[in-house]
């Protein structure tokens, strides 16, 4: 098969402690070696990565591709293409498709559509409960066998804690990871904005921090009780970071991610009633944002996800509380991570680890590093390339982003998945 040489780039691979200009040798879709030239290696193609960074492909823990069921918003084809252009080589897909990923057939359909699209690897997350209704257990084992990588209930509540307990026990029996976004249904009160000064001024139904922290506490207690492995998705508040930090210190085997936009925007950045800023969990206060930064820097939050949620125009056209929440976020993931590095919130190594090695470890994937023998999932990017977020540069079907029209810095030039170039600028 094809032999590829990536040369002259700065290789950053936190797992193998690499951060230097070095060649990467690829053969048969796998990493052959970095730096040391293998004997008899004659490349079929060479990628010149001068002035660029070569790192493992990004693994996105939280995406929605809207297919099956909502292809007016996006399709697996449109979104995997966008993901490839963003350096993403693997992505987890929430189960709130239509129909829900609660049968092997739906999981297989998604795998099939993904294979046809021929872009990044897609890992469906199985519904924890049937139809995500929070009342009956899903067929988790069958779903695992059909290729689901974890279980979760997307944004749907499990109001009855006994059911959550049993679902976690059952997931633990099959060694399945639970991916859980903590949000107490009742305290959330169908809100659309952070319970703070902005929601008060504009009369928006609001979600207190406690909706997140109470659900987090409950799930931590049940993780202790059931032995279920838990990864918390999209934490948004100061107190959630503090609680998780304590749980990890206490020795619990739990992890968490944060959505990239939560690390940049707060309630004060919102333009009044602009539905591009309608996201769940909501943009919270400056203090919350600072704690999310700290949590990332001190290892409490180990992963950054895009929390990609593409929408059609109509979904965002209305009075703020009536619009659908979510941001189309694949393509801004890298530049917004690099912005954190520029602000000295993270080192570049930390930022790359949060997008590669750390999610791979949580998902138990043999990827997220440039280790010999691993699939050649590689992202090559120019950290200084400035580009405008506009129709000419955008691939996702959803243009619902607060960054529309803005100029960001950092752009992917090549994405390789299992040794195939799936994107080049």
């Amino acid at each position: 098969m094809n032999k590829i040489l990536v040369e002259n780039g700065r290789v950053i691979d936190p797992v193998n402690a690499l951060n230097s200009i070095a060649p990467v040798y690829i053969a048969d879709g796998r990493i052959l070696s970095v730096n040391a030239k293998p004997a008899d290696f004659t490349p079929d193609s060479v990628i010149d990565a001068s002035n660029q960074i070569v790192c493992p492909g990004f693994i996105d823990l939280s995406t929605r591709l809207r297919e099956p069921g909502q292809s007016r918003k996006a399709t697996i084809k449109s979104e995997t293409r966008a993901a490839a252009s963003a350096g993403i080589t693997a992505m987890c897909l929430h189960p709130d498709t239509k129909p829900v990923i609660d049968t092997a057939a739906v999981a297989e359909l998604i795998k099939e559509l993904a294979e046809k699209a021929d872009y990044p690897q897609i890992y469906p997350i199985a519904a924890l409960t049937q139809k995500l209704e929070g009342t009956e257990l899903s067929v988790m084992l069958s779903l695992k066998q059909a290729g689901c990588i974890a279980v979760g209930n997307a944004n749907q509540p499990i109001k009855n804690l006994l059911i959550l307990r049993r679902a976690m026990e059952y997931a633990a029996s099959h060694d399945l990871l639970l991916i859980f976004r903590p949000n107490d249904y009742w305290l959330g009160n169908k809100g659309c904005a952070h319970e703070g000064a902005v929601a008060t001024r504009y009369g928006l139904p609001s979600i207190p921090e406690a909706a997140e922290t109470i659900a987090l506490d409950q799930c931590l207690e049940l993780a202790e009780l059931t032995g279920c492995r838990v990864h918390f998705g999209q934490l948004s508040s100061k107190r959630a970071v503090i609680k998780l930090h304590q749980a990890i210190k206490y020795g619990m085997n739990v992890s968490a991610d944060v959505a990239i936009h939560q690390l940049h925007l707060t309630e004060d950045d919102m333009i009044p009633f602009d539905s591009a800023y309608h996201v769940l969990p909501p943009f919270r206060s400056e203090i919350d944002k600072q704690y999310l930064h700290q949590g990332l820097a001190n290892g409490t939050l180990t992963c950054i996800c895009s929390d990609h949620q593409p929408h059609d125009i109509d979904a965002k056209l209305g009075a703020f509380p009536e619009t659908e929440p979510g941001i189309s976020a694949l393509e801004t993931l890298l530049p917004l991570m690099l912005k954190l590095v520029k602000q000295h919130t993270l080192t570049l190594d930390q930022g790359i680890a949060a997008l590669t090695a750390n999610p791979a470890r949580i998902l138990r994937l043999k990827s997220g590093a440039l280790t010999s023998g691993f699939p050649a999932d590689i992202c090559i990017f120019d950290p200084d390339h400035a580009w405008q977020v506009n129709a000419a540069n955008w691939k996702s079907q959803g243009i619902n982003t607060p960054y529309w029209g803005r100029t960001l810095t950092g752009r992917v030039t090549h994405t390789l998945q299992a040794g195939r170039v799936i994107y080049s600028l």
């Binding site: 319970e195 009369g203 139904p205 004060d268």
Partner: protein, 322 residues
């Protein structure tokens, strides 16, 4: 989140009237002065001025309201405009027509102004952003966000009785959490420069961080009424009891109902206001509502002049094209 002000045109003149936020003291005073000039009109035998002759105004009420809609209709009539009132909840939105489709259809009928009431915060703002550029939008109440014409008629009424805002302490009592009226009143009072706005309510009826609106907070009516010049009572909706915000109407009345004896705790010349409709015996007792310090009916009649002022100002020939 700060208001990029969509309400003003390039010359700083009123184009839409969506919220009090972001409007200057001078502009609010201008509205009050203009309203003053219309008071005479409403007292005349022939109650009309030709300012908006040939203009078409559509009252779009997605929420029921008899009083607000009627005063808007009367105000438009007295400005000689053609007025059409529509209650939308029962017609098009029930057929799945979107808010924007409704607006587009009406625009096609050569409308000059929309007066909008809607149950969702931000609806008037959304319509102002998406409607044709020649159309003005007046917010007649959106969700829990704003009810700026009500706030302005309240300011007008206060000015009639109290002259100078700079000496006043104003108490707003009741369901601040769900009240678009209270939010607009607080902004107007602070812009006009009162000494103090005080909100008095149990915690369940106050929004989080209410002090960020620029108010002092009290949970006790007896303490809260000290030194108050203007007492504004808010209507208590029945559903606050079923959603566990309050235990009972009678307990609410015991704590926060305005009685003659409680009113004595305010300044002797304090006036009592209420945006209506009144729940007698729930937030206010009849002897106060109908008593000598009450200006509640005055508020209603002032509503017409104030709405005439706002409508005519928003429809003034908009500055020369640049």
């Amino acid at each position: 989140m700060t208001t990029a002000n969509i309400q003003l045109n390039a010359d700083g003149k009123l184009k839409h009237f969506i919220t009090i936020e972001g409007l200057s003291k001078a502009l609010l005073t201008d509205i009050l002065d203009t309203a003053e000039s219309f008071v005479g009109v409403t007292d005349q035998q022939i109650k009309k001025v030709p300012l908006l002759r040939g203009k078409t105004i559509v009252n779009l009420f997605f929420e029921n309201s008899t009083r607000t809609r009627t005063t808007f209709e009367l105000a438009a009539n007295r400005l000689s405009a053609d007025v059409l009132s529509m209650s939308i909840s029962t017609s098009s939105t029930a057929k799945g027509e979107s808010l924007l489709d409704t607006i587009r259809n009406l625009e096609a009928m050569f409308v000059d102004m929309f007066v909008v009431r809607h149950g969702i915060s931000g609806a008037a703002h959304f319509i102002a952003q998406h409607t044709a550029p020649h159309i003005s939008v007046i917010n007649a109440g959106d969700g829990q966000h704003a009810h700026p014409t009500q706030a302005m008629l309240d300011m007008f009424t206060i000015r009639q009785f109290k002259k100078d805002f700079a000496d006043l302490r104003v108490a707003i009592i009741g369901d601040i959490l769900h009240s678009r009226v209270a939010r607009s009143q607080i902004q107007a009072l602070n812009t006009l420069g009162v000494v103090e706005v005080r909100v008095i309510a149990p915690k369940t009826l106050l929004p989080a961080h209410v002090e960020t609106l620029g108010v002092n907070v009290s949970h006790n009516l007896t303490e809260g009424l000290q030194d108050i010049d203007v007492v504004i009572m808010l209507r208590l909706q029945k559903e606050r009891m079923t959603s566990a915000l309050l235990p009972s109407e009678s307990e609410y009345f015991k704590c926060f109902g305005l009685t003659e004896s409680k009113l004595k705790l305010a300044k002797p010349d304090a006036i009592v206001m209420h945006p209506g409709p009144i729940n007698r015996g729930v937030e206010i007792e009849s002897r106060v509502a109908d008593g000598p310090q009450s200006v509640i009916l005055k508020q209603v009649s002032n509503g017409i002049a104030v709405r005439m002022a706002i409508m005519s100002m928003a429809m003034q020939p908009q500055g020369s094209p640049q």
